[in-house]
Amino acid sequence: MTPDEALAATVREEWGRLVALLLAQFRRLDLVEDALGDAVEAGARTWPRDGVPDRPAAWLLTAARRRVLDRLRAEAMAARTRPLLVVDAEVAAALGSVRADPGDLVDDDVLRLVLMCCHPALAPEVASALALRLVVGVTTADIARLFLVPEPTMAARVTRGKRKIVTAGIPFGVPDASALPERLGVVAQVAYLAFTAGYAPGSGPDLLRADLSGEAVRLVRVTLALRPDEPVLRALLALLLLQHSRRDARVGDDGRLVLLPDQDRSRWRLDEVDEALGLLQGMPGAVTSQLTESYRLQAYVAAEHATAVTASDTRWDRVCEHYAALAALNPSPAVRLAAAVALAERDGPRAGLRALDDLDGALPHSHRLPAVRGELLARAGEPRAAVEALDVAIARCGNDVEREHLTRRRDELASRRE
């Protein structure tokens, strides 16, 4: 491995832990990230010359610490609030208080970092960006690319988030045990937001952005590793893994969308499916929270698809049961739409179409609703009505690959004679 590769690998694997350790010591989010960035730059300069250090992460940590202390010293000088001797003594004390880092302490610090980034006082898209930046170590440029916003916009979002943390006093800490499940639920929602942005991006040229989904999976993994029994995290990771496992099959070699029933199942990542099923099996039986149940039921649906050898083996009756339970819990329009699709598979297109009738008001801008309606109308033997519905879908669809697929389907139906 070249020094550059070693540096990149260290940054990739260790960023969250390094940020957390520095925050635990210095509590200055504004200084910590800059210092770590400087340390990485220093590594990029010196490792090729001096060789990769034996303990690369420790090297970065030490380099970052020195820079934080330098900045603290400079701030104290500028404030001129204390004489030089006292400042030096404080700096020495700070250096001396460097504790050895047994695994537990580091882990707790990473959990503190996750909870800080995913605090409910931060707007969800800000929390997602901060979590990816600070816990997973994704660069701002890459986060911007992943969420399809301009880099300055994303940089401003991250800066705003950090400023809110500092100014509003969002703590670097773990709340009471009683508050922890709810806070981990927020972490789950932040991760889910990031995952969905990658799994089904609403706009742009890519059908999916597997990198973003992968980072979201990593975020959940990091948090779950710190709290392995937390039901909401287990259920969410299972759900994400099941959806993520299909990533290599969702786009054909020609760049076109491949629907679930048509996907080459040999391209599904079965190791991830197995891991997800294991997570689901190990979950407590009792109902824990609405959010956990929602993820669990969605995971069960995904599991039905993942364990069907071919599309026609899918147990639609079970899928319908899970959706019924999900709708009872959370009758959101998105759930009801998915339930209508399952209903159509089990009971035929007319049943599905009837289920769609009430949804127009709730989903006025959705392209998926008219797309599903079009598909069911085609199956029900009404190609003209199907074309009309697909036209609506095409007009509303923001994603290039999905739109191209819908257009092809529409053209195919329009060319048939009634």
Binding site: H119, A121, T167, A168, G169, I170, P171, G173
Partner: protein
């Protein structure tokens, strides 16, 4: 310690028409809040404010002329009814304290910033 101003907003209602039990519940809630603040930080100041219809607003119009008008600066269903100025360790503490206030309130927690002279 961080300094926060905790702004209390609610839909105007008739305190005089509340039952003694309801009034006591409000008093208890404020007591619980102040006790929490005393235990975890410091209470710097507070006030209950007259309702929004007792407010007077000074505002510059398009030409820059300052006008005095009757009423609050923003017409909202909920209006600011009081504030606490407190010192507490962090935002979670401020939120924990705010939770003790009556649930009918909408509470805004705003950090106080120091203007460097």
């Amino acid at each position: 310690m961080k300094r926060y101003v905790i702004l209390i907003a609610y839909r105007p209602w008739d305190w005089s028409s509340a039952t003694p039990e309801v009034r006591q519940s409000y008093v208890d809630a404020h007591d619980a809040f102040q006790q929490y603040v005393d235990e975890h930080g410091a209470h710097l100041g507070s006030a209950a404010l007259g309702d929004a219809d007792t407010a007077t607003t000074l505002r510059a119009d398009a030409d820059g002329a300052r006008m005095v008008t009757d009423g609050p600066f923003a017409e909202l269903a909920e209006q600011i009814g009081g504030y606490y100025d407190v010192e507490l360790p962090d935002l979670d503490a401020a939120i924990a304290a705010a939770r003790l206030l009556p649930p009918a309130y909408t509470v805004e927690v705003r950090p106080v910033i120091r203007i460097e002279g």
